[in-house]
């Protein structure tokens, strides 16, 4: 089936894409940390109507998160400092994954505090049939030991990609941080070290203050900004990364509608991930997939793939 959301009588649209070896029925995934372990959404949507989902970042051992407050709403967005709270890789494989319908492709997100921990987590996930790819979270901006350092320093990032690449032969995506000077440079590092694709962006490092208490709102002081507020930044970074590398890109940041997703494809993304919008409307990802098809039909586009990188730039004088 390649015509999700098609209206009867409307031209069918080929929605399938391939992200670095991960074959997807449509280009809409859900972003890590915003879709739980997938099971929570069963009451609200049909998981088979999206391309697949990226699970909450996993660590080798279960991990408890930060003290509250962990979230705060900001203009057209929200900030979070959860602290990569997760059930750990083994509980994910044995308790969570069996609850997901088999035909739903799962990408496991991996986090660690040193490269060897990342590598070991990757090894444990690599032989699980339903896991179609790994996404290395090299960009979480609010965990003191790890996260930001990997994604912000090209040498450290190169080592992480090298070590995780060695640990797995299944498709490997690297999720990049927006909190860098040159995303193109980071993307090139990933490509050179053998990554199959990149995902971007993670949350934008931010601060919110309570003027009554004169304290930061979040206990962690800094948090990561997500939602529509970061969408233009994300689009810019996807476009810059797409100019720099040939490996496919998963575009992330503030996507809530099919129109938003179209913009990311035009800027060079092969697939997109829906994040914060899942909280606002638990069926958002399915509606983004349907919206992409509606756009293609209205524009006479027969395959969504044809939109990738189709941005038309003004003539340079």
């Amino acid at each position: 089936m390649t015509s999700d959301g098609a209206k009867p009588g409307a031209a069918s649209v080929d929605t399938s894409v391939n992200v670095g070896g991960i074959q997807l029925r449509n280009p809409v995934l859900t972003a890590s940390g915003t879709f739980g372990y997938g099971t929570e959404f069963a009451a609200f949507m049909d998981l088979r109507k999206i391309g697949g989902f990226v699970a909450k970042s996993l660590t080798l051992e279960p991990r408890s998160g930060n003290m509250p407050a962990r979230i705060v709403e900001t203009p057209s967005g929200m900030m979070n400092a959860i602290g990569i709270e997760n059930v750990g890789v083994e509980a994910f494989i044995h308790e969570k994954l069996p609850q997901i319908p088999e035909e739903v492709p799962v990408v496991a997100s991996v986090f660690g505090t040193d490269p060897e921990m990342y590598a070991e987590t990757c090894r444990r996930l690599s032989d699980v049939p339903q896991i179609k790819g790994l996404e290395i979270n090299a960009s979480c901006p609010h965990v003191k030991s790890g996260g930001i350092e990997f994604g912000q320093n090209p040498k450290v990032l190169a080592e992480l990609v090298r070590v995780t690449r060695k640990a797995t032969s299944i498709p490997l995506l690297i999720k990049l941080s927006p909190n860098v000077t040159s995303v193109a440079e980071m993307a090139k590092v990933c490509e050179a070290e053998g990554a199959d694709g990149i995902s971007l962006i993670n949350t934008v490092q931010a601060l919110e203050v309570n003027i009554e208490t004169r304290r930061p709102v979040l206990r962690n002081v800094l948090g990561g900004l997500s939602g529509p507020a970061i969408r233009p930044i994300a689009l810019r970074m996807v476009w810059q990364a797409a100019q720099a590398v040939k490996i496919p890109i998963c575009g992330i940041g503030g996507i809530a509608t099919g129109e938003d997703a179209v913009k990311f494809l035009l800027c060079g993304a092969t697939a997109v991930q829906v994040g914060t919008a899942n909280y606002v409307n638990p069926k958002a990802a399915q509606e983004v997939a349907e919206g992409l098809v509606a756009y293609a039909q209205a524009q006479g586009v027969s395959a969504l793939r044809d939109l990738i990188g189709a941005l038309e730039l003004p003539e340079s004088g």
């Binding site: 609200f44 709403e73 929200m78 909280y279 638990p282």
Partner: protein, 278 residues
């Protein structure tokens, strides 16, 4: 999904755009809104809540972005869904937008969510302590509890005007006592000061329930611990999703871990909560 029998009893939550039946100002920024919610399950546990989005689930504006959690006040089941009533106080932008929704317009609803209150043992005694908008969480509990138990409802507010419309509560066979900080109605002072009333302090076979501002719940929990009484609280941590995926609403537990207020709560046994870090 959560496999507990309570969750199964409560039924699967719905996600739908609900039509506003009425939405009215009851004074002092207290509002009452009734929504016709398609797909609302047959059973709602007392103390469950819903996430509400003024303008509907696919609203055009992204600011404010997140839905607002509101306790389910009363439910009137009907074919294919239910009419669900909410009591809310206008305190900021989200609740201002809610108050502007007129009859016939839509409000997005995800719910019912969370785990509700356990009822007091039959023929037992129950004391419900409610402060501010916390009263909305305890109406269904009060109504069910007073069928089989003797119930005291202690209500606190800044002044008489803030209490809102108490007709529904006054119609129940329970002992209603009121405290206002300015003394404009009932006892002058804090609602927790009423807890010594009716000689209930030494009563071990008594269940306490508290819903309201955190300092009030903390005080009730402390008293309950001192008296050796069972105590349930309904927490109101800020939420983004309401159904256990963002991990934003975590409440620290007394045993060191975290519970999610939206999924494991909002109702908790008070002794499970780490009140220092909440």
């Amino acid at each position: 999904m959560v496999a507990s029998s309570e969750a199964a009893l409560a039924g699967s939550p719905t996600r739908s755009d609900a039509e506003v039946v009425f939405n009215r100002d009851e004074g002092a920024d207290n509002w009452r809104m009734r929504l016709r919610v398609p797909g609302w399950p047959r059973q709602t546990a007392p103390g469950q809540f819903a996430m509400l989005t003024p303008g509907g689930l696919t609203k055009l504006s992204s600011d404010p972005l997140l839905p607002r959690p509101m306790a389910v006040y009363r439910v009137f089941t009907e074919a294919g869904g239910a009419e669900v009533e909410f009591l809310y106080k206008v305190v900021g932008r989200g609740t201002t937008l809610l108050s502007q929704a007129e009859a016939g317009e839509v409000v997005g609803v995800v719910g019912p969510l969370g785990q509700g209150f356990s009822l007091p043992p039959s023929k037992g005694k129950a004391v419900l302590v409610a402060g501010g908008t916390g009263v909305a969480s305890v109406y269904e509990l009060a109504a069910l509890a007073c069928e089989k138990s003797e119930v005291w409802l202690l209500m606190g507010a800044r002044s008489a005007a803030d209490l809102g419309n108490l007709e529904d509560f006054e119609a129940l066979p329970l002992n209603l006592e009121i405290a206002t900080e300015d003394g404009s109605r009932g006892h002058r002072g804090l609602v927790t000061e009423l807890m010594g009333a009716a000689g209930l302090d030494g009563e071990e076979k008594l269940t306490l329930y508290a819903c309201g501002p955190t300092p009030m719940m903390r005080a009730v929990a402390k008293l309950a611990a001192e008296r050796g009484q069972r105590c349930f609280v309904s927490l109101e941590n800020p939420m983004a999703c309401g159904f256990g995926v963002c991990l934003g609403c975590a409440a620290p537990r007394s045993d060191g871990g975290f519970s999610l207020v939206c999924r494991d709560g909002p109702v908790f046994d008070a002794c499970e909560i780490d009140w220092e870090n909440l």
